[in-house]
Amino acid sequence: MGVSAGFAVLAAFSLLAGLPEGVLALPLGPPWGAASLALDGLSAWFLLLLGMVGACTSLFALGAPPGPARSLPPFPLLLAGMALSLTAADAFLLLLGLGLAALAAGALVAVEHGQAEARMAARRHLILAALAAGCLMPACGLLAGPAGAYDFAAMRGVPPEGWRAGAVLALGMLGAGALAGQLPFAQGAAPGHAAALLSGAMPGLTIYVLARLLADLCGPAQPSWWGLPLLAAGAVSALLGALQALREEDGQSLLAWAGIGHLGLAVSGLGLALAFRGADLGALAGLAAGAALLQALGQGVFMALLVLAAGAVAHTAGSRKLDRLGGLIHAMPVTAACTLIGVLAASCLPPLSGFAGAWLLLQSVLAGWRVGFIGFQLAAAAATVLAALALALVAAAMLRLFGMAFLGRPRSPRGAGAHEVSRPERWAILLPAGLTLLLGLFPGVLLLLAEPALGVLTGRAAAPVRDLALLAGDRPAAYAPLVLALVLALSGGLLAWLLRRRSPLAAARGPAWDGGFIAPPDYLPFGDPLTQPSASGLAQPLRRMLGEPRAARLPSDSTPRLRDWLAGRVGWLPGLTARQGLSLGFGTLVLLLVLLLWPGGR
């Protein structure tokens, strides 16, 4: 707890007071290169995130009922591993830190090793961790070049070219994907505070690894298309994560997939930043990189908040299944209010912290046409659609989470017996809720703090900020959260005054009207459960409108399904519904435009 708060203070202090110069050489490491630590803008930004998340989760761990003794040591080890990889100044320590974090997380996932599910999750987690290491290690090797210099300063001196650059890009993306892919398995099985640390800090760590490897170490001279794979991967994973979040009926898994959705948005911001940097659009690159950084920071804090709250719910209401919860807003008022803040922030609503990152991201996607190349412009338009779809889907999934767990009537006797959590746990949930409000109101200050990181990412440190408002474009569009909060407060005050004058009667209580439905019999103390929406029922119209999301299934069973689907669709054209016809038309239009314009747009 003290250590992680120390990280936060150290990072905030170094961002405020200027970064420490040089690197700290450690008297250890492999024979071919001394291990060294350094804290530049990028490291400090993500260390700040790790510190905030670590402080909240450690506080929660203090108040939560103690688990078995074997769950105690991996938690600080996880924190230390993450911090080590964030502050490493050479590839060896970076990988060592990642490995340490992966092992500790694996141990935490396997804490309940009596259950087959937890063993399975731990196994999948370790396989993915090994995959991540297997991709990132050769990527670092390629970056080190023939000289075999593994410290970052030397790596920057020899940026990769030709096929080596392409291989680094592919391996880095694959490795980061494997890092992020551990989340849904790890988060479902780990104890509450560890799951919160993972879901809060792991996406940030993924973004850090991507930014460090692909934006910093590969040098600023990479071409514009360099960002395109990242943009595409980010937008697609945002959509898939959000779709899967809509299907999940387990609170923690829902949050994990929503986290993948948010992470995808941040990754596409990073991809856009690289593309703009390659096209010499410095200001726009700053905008997109700022979007990625703000999104990562905001996401870390509100996801930690939501996962902590889900952990609190799981241990007082006895279940994580949405279909066994309900009505907790009465039993757990503080947790419910904090969760509501987190849910609104995760739905990217103004003026909370999710909206600032999403606004910057959408602004930079909207400016994607300035890369004067028709293929990229169409990709940016498609990314706009995907990002908007993902944002709306995540909002729907978040509403579903809050509506099922906290609103309505209890769905099980155990859930009805829930009570408010202990005082340290409450503080541990209040702390990130307050941080979410604060980060939402002052994104401008944050971006000014992020200037060194923007400098590392885009080569010029100028945050798109004026008077604490975020700005985009040369005829600037602005997002001013403080002004917005003032307007909201003033109109709220005006409305409250008017209502007090015109409508003074206090509300009375009566039985629910429910469209005239008869009162339930006595043996159903919480009403007829069938008259309440279920977790899958709440998502049903949306899933029906979108068509069953085939792509969101796990890849293990998708190949035979694809084959069956193709086989079943021979002679399908006359039987298309309007929606299928339209999506076919949409796809064909995009394809034709790309084909037609490819040579002309160069």
Binding site: A367, A381, F402, L407, R475, S491, L538, M545, F586
Partner: protein
Amino acid sequence: MALLAGILTQLLHLALMLATAPLVLGVTRWLRARMLGRRGASPLQPFRDLDRLLRKRPVLAENASWLSEAAPQAGLVACMAAAALVPSFAGGMLLAPAGDLLVVVGLLAAARMALLLAALDVGTAFGGMGAARAMSIPVLAEPVLLLCAVSFAILAGTTNLDGIAAAFREGAPGLRLSLALAGAAMLVVALAANARRPVQGPGSLAEPAMLEEAMLLESSGRHLALWEYQSALRLTLWLSLLAALLLPYGMAPAGAGPFAWLLGLLAWAAKIGVLCLALTCFEGASARMRLFRLPGILGLALLLALLAAALLFLGTGPA
């Protein structure tokens, strides 16, 4: 001086939006009734309804939480803030620099979230059904809206509403096919966002068509008045937004005097009237479709918006 004019126009604008919202609702209802051959209630009827509802004592369900009390006001406050940011009769209002299209969309999403939370609060069948339906619509509508924003951003160079209106008013982009396509897509989004005709009849209490009404079954008195007022304000806001983006003519430019404001006011009233008439004609002439036809309609709008953006991309290429 400019600051004073900005403050004055901002206050006038907000008062105008707040005061005309029930009138817009009343006028559309009256026009619809006339079109169906009925006499119809006076266009001022929504004011009387709201006053009556405000004076009644609201009844809450036994297991309603504080959300049911707070959500109507929170939703209306978000909607009011959005309405303050959308230009109506004059440019250069005090909050014009903060009036970004995406921020307005975000505020409207916040207002919708308040409604959805209130619908789920009591845990009734209708509330859940309405919320499940209502949360699907923005998923389909927001991509279209954002794709339209791409076109506006290319044509006007910004997503600031005042900036877009000024750029279009000065005729910088001229009459363009892409603007027409994006405008058509925006109209569809506006219909979907206000739960209007192709899939939903306003005020219908038949289960297959219920959307907002299903979510409001548990609210009464003051809370119902606030929700209904919010719905009217949202309709006015959307009409005003369409007028500012697609028909920005006659709006008083920034720094103009009271005479230009008066002209702008008249032009705004005429534009809103025309849009109301168009809305009623459309609703009178079209039959209600199933809710699940909505993806098809919005998919068509998405195609139009994509075509608009692609045409513009052709124009911006280095060739």
